[in-house]
């Protein structure tokens, strides 16, 4: 009971200006993800010395070479019976921008309300969101590499495209790495966790007197 009360007291505490600034910066970083790609896939082959490039944003796919690369990737993939990489296939693009927006608003709420509870809420939600997005991305790659048409001209064993790093797939060297928006999100998480840790550490520093005073009074 005491512990719960202590936690509740902690949650009801306000966060200091420095922490609020950290959360504000985290929100700004999150805003940047609208303008930056989350992930990049680049494929090299002897015939494609300059590579075919695909940038994934939170709301769209963007091919390199003015969008031509994504058409080329689809033309090539149709030989192995892979589904077209088109925006319509990605339900994520429908909800992700809104979730990011909502999380941003929650961060601003934490800045304005300045309670530990608000900070904890948004941090936890953001960690869940990040984890789910990564899983979702990985699952998408898995499905693309496994749902191959049985009548495809070229039969290849189902495969898992790389999520992080490089891999040789037939004549292609495929590289997959996070890009700026992912780093911004990582930064957001780091800032939120740091804000939380800072607040908790400050509470701990202030708490002993209460904690000691409590039992002594009883």
């Amino acid at each position: 009971m005491q512990r719960l009360a202590r936690t509740n007291r902690f949650l009801d505490q306000t966060i200091d200006v420095r922490t609020r600034l950290m959360v504000l910066v985290a929100a700004a970083l999150l805003l940047a993800t609208y303008f930056l790609p989350l992930w990049n896939l680049t494929m090299f082959a002897p015939q494609y010395p300059d590579g075919l490039r695909l940038d994934i944003y939170s709301y769209t796919l963007v091919g390199g070479n003015n969008g031509q690369d994504i058409k080329e990737i689809n033309v090539l993939n149709h030989y192995i019976g892979m589904r077209d990489l088109v925006n319509e296939e990605f339900t994520e693009f429908q909800w992700m921008p809104f979730v990011i927006g909502a999380l941003g608003l929650l961060m601003l709420r934490a800045v304005v309300h300045a309670t530990v509870a608000a900070l904890v809420d948004v941090t936890m939600l953001f960690v869940y969101f990040g984890a789910f997005s990564l899983w979702s991305f990985g699952y998408k790659l898995y499905r693309y590499g496994h749902d191959l048409s049985p009548t495809a001209a070229v039969q290849v064993p189902p495969f898992m495209p790389p999520m992080f790093g490089g891999q040789q797939i037939a004549n292609f060297e495929v590289y997959s790495y996070p890009r700026a928006a992912s780093y911004a999100m990582a930064g957001t998480i780091v800032l939120l966790l740091a804000a939380l840790a800072w607040t908790w550490w400050q509470a701990r520093r202030a708490a002993p007197r209460d904690a000691i005073a409590g039992p002594a009074a009883s």
Binding site: Q68, K71, E72, V75, Y79, A153, V154
Partner: protein, 617 residues
């Protein structure tokens, strides 16, 4: 005994003969070439100078006329690699040229042309990399757009003018290209006996107006000229901007065995045409309509044309970069003549004439000449380098002479293998020549290559002209037959690599496989076809015998180098469609049965599967 004596004598005789042979034998090579091949270090330098490593790019484009092949060949310099062929006046199945409706219509009834003088479009006398013009003998001139290296227009055969040799010669701001008669004939054309050649036959000089925005050519005017053979030309520039110069031979007005009869006079003429004055005359309504063309007779409108005497049977006339010197090369003499444009103007003003030809004044030779440069035998053409250097090809001497404008000093000669005709220096006919490279376009190769039988290739030889002595770098064996070539800095030409989808306005274009298909109106059948790796959609279609069929193929690729073909067997049809392009072919389905069509231009791993059938019922 007797026989032994005989043997002894025989031995003596053989020994004597051997001794004589050893001391007096005919040399195996001429004394002038006694030096033999270039020394080893020179070869290494030449090899390095021309070596363009795999994947690296050349510094210059050379657009070489293909002569009676009717085409233009594109080479890269300094490697001299043949990069591509631009079909112009002759069908070329490799690109489907002359098989689709548009190019077939452009070629008309002629499937042959004798292409001569490529002329890059110019701005302020310098190549601007927009268009390339080329003439051909059947009274035609073509425009190639350097945005896609495709022939966009063929103008002609134009009326009145016969044997369009003295062409294309673009003016400094691409206002005009020019055409002129080599084979005079009655104007308008009618059957008149050759015995009345001198009076009834006429030459024509035609101004071809170039639209400054689109490059579209139109026949603006013609000048009625004496029946000479107009041979070559060059547009005035800088000081002489506004003038055109044409050489002529057979000013004897002879017929029959011309090699004799047309070589009697010591001097023929360079016709100087004030084309701005012609423009003004046309604007004021001068001239008569002959066969639908405004033709001006210089007898009736004085001041348009003047004749500059030039010895002997001149071939090339080339205006120096400053525009003030005009170099006329008399092919039957040992000098090339340099005229001074300022002096030409003064002579015109002072009426310093020595006679006239059909009312056209002949300027006094001594009054307009600056120099007779002793370049060597058979001078044909002159190109220019930096620092007032001039390079003249010598057909008879089989060499190039290097000489200096102003001092008229001949400083070097480079032997050519063999019998050089034209020559082309890097941007060597512009107001600012680059120097660097010079290419001799030789008529004969005489087995300087692996034997390919009696029909031998031409030879084009690359020279380094950066130093005092010209240095031979490379032998290339070019398609017949380079009459002239122009060399342009590579970065001035900016071609596209695919036709952007949004620019394709073809009414029969389809970009979606689902919209491909067959429509019929009476006996006219239209097949809208999509080509994309690796299917031609629809994969089959049916028509009835006698139907007029139009197949419109759209290559919906936007990837570089993803060309597709549409070859229809037994129907003499082969289209090649570039990425983003739509081409149509219209034919009557005369033969019934089943006919395969397939992609003729290797495209992908499943190229062999890119095929289908036309069923004619």
């Amino acid at each position: 005994m007797e026989s032994q004596r005989l043997h002894a004598w025989a031995r003596v005789l053989i020994l004597a003969a051997a001794a004589a042979a050893a001391t007096q034998c005919t040399p195996s090579r001429p004394a002038s070439r006694a030096g033999g091949a270039a020394v080893q270090s020179d070869l290494a330098v030449a090899a390095q100078a021309t070596y363009v490593a795999p994947g690296d790019l050349d510094q210059y484009y050379m657009f070489s006329s293909g002569g009676h092949s009717g085409q233009i060949y594109v080479y890269g310099l300094p490697s001299m690699r043949h990069l591509s062929t631009i079909p112009v006046f002759t069908p070329y199945p490799a690109t489907g040229y002359g098989f689709d409706d548009d190019s077939k219509k452009m070629l008309g009834e002629l499937t042959w042309g004798d292409a001569h003088h490529p002329a890059l479009s110019e701005t302020k006398g310098d190549y601007d990399g927009r268009w390339l013009f080329i003439n051909e003998m059947n009274g035609r001139i073509a425009r190639i757009d350097l945005r896609d290296f495709k022939t966009k227009q063929i103008l002609g055969p134009i009326p009145n003018l016969h044997g369009n040799h003295a062409s294309s010669f673009v003016t400094p701001n691409s206002e005009y290209a020019m055409m002129a008669t080599r084979f005079s004939r009655p104007v308008p054309n009618r059957p008149v006996g050759v015995d009345r050649y001198a009076t009834e036959y006429k030459g024509i000089i035609a101004g071809i107006k170039i639209d400054p925005a689109s490059g579209e050519m139109s026949l603006a005017w013609q000048l009625l000229m004496p029946p000479f053979d107009y041979d070559l030309g060059d547009a005035g520039k800088n000081a002489s901007d506004g003038w055109m110069f044409f050489t002529s031979y057979n000013t004897e007005r002879a017929t029959g065995k011309l090699e004799v009869t047309a070589s009697q006079r010591d001097r023929d003429y360079i016709a100087a045409v004030d084309w701005r004055a012609v423009e003004r005359a046309v604007a004021s309504g001068a001239g008569d309509m002959i066969d639908g063309v405004r033709v001006i007779d210089p007898q009736k409108v004085p001041g348009l044309v003047f004749l500059m005497p030039c010895g002997k049977s001149p071939h090339g006339v080339d205006v120096a970069p400053n525009g003030n010197w005009i170099v006329g090369s008399g092919k039957l003499q040992g000098v090339t003549t340099v005229f001074n444009f300022e002096k030409v103007q003064t002579a015109i003003k002072n009426k310093d004439f020595t006679g006239e030809e059909d009312g056209i004044p002949v300027l006094k030779y001594e009054s307009i000449k600056d120099a007779e440069v002793p370049v060597g035998l058979g001078p044909l053409h002159t190109q220019f380098g930096t620092d007032d250097w001039a390079y003249t090809s010598l057909f008879v001497d089989s060499a190039i002479a290097k000489w200096k404008l102003g001092t008229w000093e001949v400083v070097d000669k480079a032997p050519m293998s063999y019998s050089i005709g034209h020559l082309a220096a890097a941007e060597g006919d512009t107001v600012s020549p680059d120097g660097n490279y010079l290419v001799g376009l030789n008529k004969l190769s005489h087995g300087r290559h692996l034997s390919v039988g009696p029909s031998q290739p031409e030879s084009s030889q690359l020279l380094d002209i950066t130093e005092e002595k010209m240095k031979l770098l490379y032998d290339a064996f070019t398609e017949p037959e380079p009459h002239y070539a122009q060399i342009i800095k590579a970065d001035k030409v900016k071609p596209i690599e695919v036709y952007p989808k949004e620019e394709n306005k073809h009414p029969l274009a389809v970009w979606d496989i689902n919209q491909a298909g067959v429509t019929r109106q009476g006996n006219r059948v239209t097949v809208k076809m999509v080509a994309v790796r690796s299917t031609l959609t629809p994969t089959d279609f049916e028509v009835a015998a006698g139907d007029q069929v139009t197949v419109a193929v759209t290559n919906i690729e936007q990837t570089t180098d993803e060309l597709h073909g549409f070859g229809l067997l037994d129907y003499n049809i082969n289209l090649v469609i570039d990425p983003g392009e739509t081409k149509t072919v219209t034919f009557t389905a005369k033969k019934s049965g089943v006919f395969a069509f397939y992609c003729t231009n290797f495209c992908s791993a499943l190229h062999q599967e890119m095929q289908g059938y036309m069923v004619v019922k």
